[in-house]
């Protein structure tokens, strides 16, 4: 008799099993997030149960009021899960996909049975992630617990040397019974030609880099180049709904995984800094995306939002919010996702 309950693989679960590795071209765009927004997020998603039950406490990482928007064009992703060859009856090849996700540093302290908080460990959460490959989406959601959304991601390397990235999601522009779901814009990034930074980063970038270096010291992570952490420990809330009571979770667990970036044999491993003042991030705030945009960036400035009154109700208009990141870089590397484990099972 086996000591565990075997998963029964099927045609629909031909998944990318962790650990996996790939080559990727990565863009990173740092931006500031108020500590209160990070605290709201961790309170809502990680600290929502009674401390007595969860035995841990998440907080924003001190002096790390930033997030990094990563865009990765991933090539040749393949599993390193040796057991999968025996398990899945047949194993298959590689995946190419594009993904965009936001990483935010947070800290976790365990609560002992005497209600004593332990020393913090520093991790990253991924509150927003979009991918264009359903095989990866199913794997990330159902195995790791990442809340990855399906979308369309388009990258364009222009003739003039510039780079444009667009991310679209399935959703509606306005909430209405007659609104039909379609691909709607979430993000557009414009990196104009000649954005490569010459010399040292400026003051705004230096602030974020200082915070990242501070975090690297706490996590004792080696770096790629002078400051980009080589290993990022990601924590996710893996959860599934009950079939009959959709507001009840039949399974909840904290899952940790590690994203590592390594040198490619034939490419520079140092992240190339881009002039963040030339780079533009344009976020589209509409009915579907408003939640995720405002959660981390707050409400748009009063002059940027318009309200009208319809039937005595306020109607929020869709808003395009353009801003410059506080840090921008590009990197070609090998990516590994490993050390995936269920840290704490809540139910």
């Amino acid at each position: 008799m086996t000591e565990f309950t075997p998963f029964i693989p099927s045609f629909a679960t031909q998944q990318l099993l962790p650990p996996w590795e790939a080559e990727a071209t990565v863009y990173g765009f740092g931006f500031r997030i108020p500590e209160s927004a990070i605290r709201d997020y961790v309170d809502r998603y990680f600290n929502s149960t009674e401390p007595r039950e969860r035995r841990f406490q998440f907080d924003p990482a001190p002096n790390c009021e930033f997030g990094i928007l990563f865009y990765s064009n991933v090539r040749n992703a393949r599993t390193n899960n040796i057991a999968s060859n025996n398990h899945s009856r047949r194993s298959f090849g590689t995946l190419n996909y594009k993904e965009a996700f936001v990483c935010v540093p947070i800290s976790r302290r365990n609560i002992s049975i005497y209600n004593v908080l332990s020393e913090p460990i520093y991790e990253w959460c991924q509150p927003i992630a979009v991918c264009d490959c359903t095989t990866v989406i199913f794997s990330a959601r159902e195995i790791v617990g990442l809340d990855v959304l399906p979308g369309r991601i388009t990258e364009t390397y222009r003739d003039d040397g510039g780079f444009t990235l667009t991310v679209q999601l399935y959703g509606v522009e306005t909430f209405s019974p007659t609104s039909k779901e379609e691909l709607i814009p979430l993000l557009e990034v414009d990196v104009p030609p000649g954005s490569s930074q010459e010399g040292l980063p400026d003051e705004r970038s230096e602030d974020v880099i200082r915070a990242i270096r501070n975090l690297n010291e706490k996590t004792r992570s080696p770096t790629i180049g002078p400051w980009l952490p080589q290993h990022m420990q990601v924590v996710t809330l893996k959860q599934f709904r009950d079939a009959s009571k959709m507001d009840i979770a039949i399974y909840q667990a904290l899952v940790t995984s590690q994203i590592s970036r390594h040198a490619l044999p034939d490419a520079s491993t140092v992240p190339i800094l881009l002039n963040e003042r030339k780079v533009t991030l344009q976020l589209s705030e509409n009915a579907t995306t408003r939640e995720m945009v405002q959660t981390f960036l707050g409400q748009p400035p009063p002059e940027g939002r318009e309200t009208t009154t319809a039937d005595g109700k306020e109607v929020w208009q869709n808003v395009e919010r353009a801003q410059h990141p506080t840090l921008a870089f590009r990197l070609d590397c090998k990516v590994e996702v490993d050390q995936v484990k269920t840290d704490v099972t809540l139910s």
Binding site: A12, N76, I111, V116, I143, Y251
Partner: protein
């Protein structure tokens, strides 16, 4: 009991759903019952069968399967009151033995910060709708109680769906995570000329699915043709005459055709009284399971889940000449397992899997109709104990639809001590 924490990024809409004005193209074929039985053994008759209490087997009295192509112009939440669960959670502070309290946003929120302007008061049904096309295979199974008592009250017909191909990724995510349906996302091409009396009105469908063309470890996933269907004009038409054994020969009069429509309406009223035996109501059963994060070969959750798909307002029932129907599957690379699992396809040798072999499914009947479909009554039939896991296991909910109003009188509810490790001790039965 833990609340599901609705994510900021979640676009999921929980069932029940309503699908008005669908167009259903149905192709009936005769499966190999040995393969159906093998499917039952592999996916449904798992765990400790005496403890489960029921088993699944092919339905000998109706040994057929259906391939359905359904066009949904509108898919919407059917519960007018159901709202998103994305709400500000009450802040919970962890008191420490040192008398400290960990900070919460209530204490540290800056004056200029504010909660997002999320209007969580708009019910899902008022937020919008989607539309898509689905292609799936389904066959009926007999769920049979293993004891005399359970044979009487737990036996019924349910439908298994080995795979569902859908167009919208959010539909795939909801189906997989909420109900355990084997949904995959694909590009579906549909050409459905409206049937008319002059013999036109052909139907074609094609499915392109992400797959690997071979088992080579270096083969990259790409969109590959998976399935193609064509059907000639509906009967009667001038192009071909059906043979004497065609289903059409039974229904070639307008009176009979109208009778089918009337029967569809009548079945709406008879459904519960007939124990779900009629195909206008499909009680679907699925194995809902999730992999462990650290050990993907292990399941962290396994349960049999049921739901109801009910066809009503059936109109425009028309029959295709099955001799003019072509159903082709591409037996290649990563598609081979499902083709070999369901159909009598010639087995590929491992070194020949790069060849795109076509498997043609012979239809014995084909028809189309318009209907309203309601998708509801989601239930967790049985939760399998997870070895090495702890915690409470929810009670079984096998009871057949026609007995549900009298559930407390005829059944006993199984309860489990939350402190008892699941699966290691027998369940405690209490009369209710």
């Amino acid at each position: 009991v833990l609340k599901y924490v609705d994510s900021v990024a979640s676009q999921q809409v929980p069932p029940p759903y309503e699908f008005p004005n669908t167009t259903v193209h149905a192709f009936i074929w005769e499966p190999d019952l040995a393969k159906v039985k093998a499917y039952c053994t592999r996916f449904l008759n798992i765990g400790d069968l005496p403890a489960v209490g029921v088993s699944y087997e092919p339905l000998a009295i109706w040994p057929y399967a259906a391939l359905l192509v359904i066009d949904y112009p509108v898919m919407a939440c059917a519960d007018p009151a159901r709202k998103t669960m994305f709400k500000q959670q009450p802040k919970v502070r962890a008191k420490t033995s040192r008398g400290n309290q960990t900070p919460s946003s209530a204490q540290t929120k800056s004056p200029d910060s504010s909660d997002p302007e999320i209007d969580d008061t708009i019910p899902y049904a008022q937020r919008g709708y989607t539309s898509q096309t689905e292609v799936f295979v389904t066959f009926p199974l007999l769920r049979r109680g293993r004891t005399l008592r359970r044979l009487a009250i737990d036996t019924m017909i349910e439908w298994a769906i080995p795979f569902i191909i859908v167009e919208k990724p959010e539909s795939a995510i909801c189906g997989r995570e909420m109900l355990g349906l084997e949904k995959l996302c694909a590009q579906i091409g549909l050409q459905d000329d409206k049937p008319s009396g002059d013999g036109t009105g052909a139907f074609t469908a094609s499915v392109e699915l992400p797959g690997w063309p071979s088992t080579s470890p270096t083969a990259a996933q790409e969109m590959l043709p998976f399935f193609e269907a064509t059907a000639g004009p509906v009967l009667p038409n001038v192009w071909a005459a059906p043979n004497a054994t065609s289903v059409w020969s039974l229904l070639r009069s307008r009176t009979a055709s109208a009778g089918v429509e009337a029967f569809g309406v009548m079945r709406d009223f008879l459904d519960d009284a007939l124990m779900g035996l009629l195909p206008s109501t499909m009680q679907v059963v699925a194995l809902k399971q999730f992999r462990g994060a650290g050990h993907p070969q292990r399941a962290v959750y396994q349960a049999l889940v049921g739901c109801r798909s009910k066809f009503s307002n059936i109109t425009n029932f028309q029959i295709y000449n099955e001799q003019n129907v072509s159903l082709k599957f591409h037996n290649r690379g990563s598609f081979c397992p499902i083709i070999e699992e369901l159909f009598e396809a010639p087995k590929n040798k491992s070194n020949a899997q790069e060849e795109d072999q076509i498997y043609s499914l012979p239809a014995i009947a084909a028809f189309r109709f318009n209907a309203r479909i309601d998708f509801d009554q989601m239930r967790t039939l049985h939760t399998f104990p997870i070895k090495s896991a702890t915690g409470a296991r929810p009670p079984d909910d096998w009871i057949v639809p026609w007995l549900r109003p009298w559930k407390g009188f005829v059944t006993r509810t199984r309860t489990r001590d939350p402190a008892e490790p699941a699966g290691e001790r027998p369940a405690v039965e209490k009369s209710t």
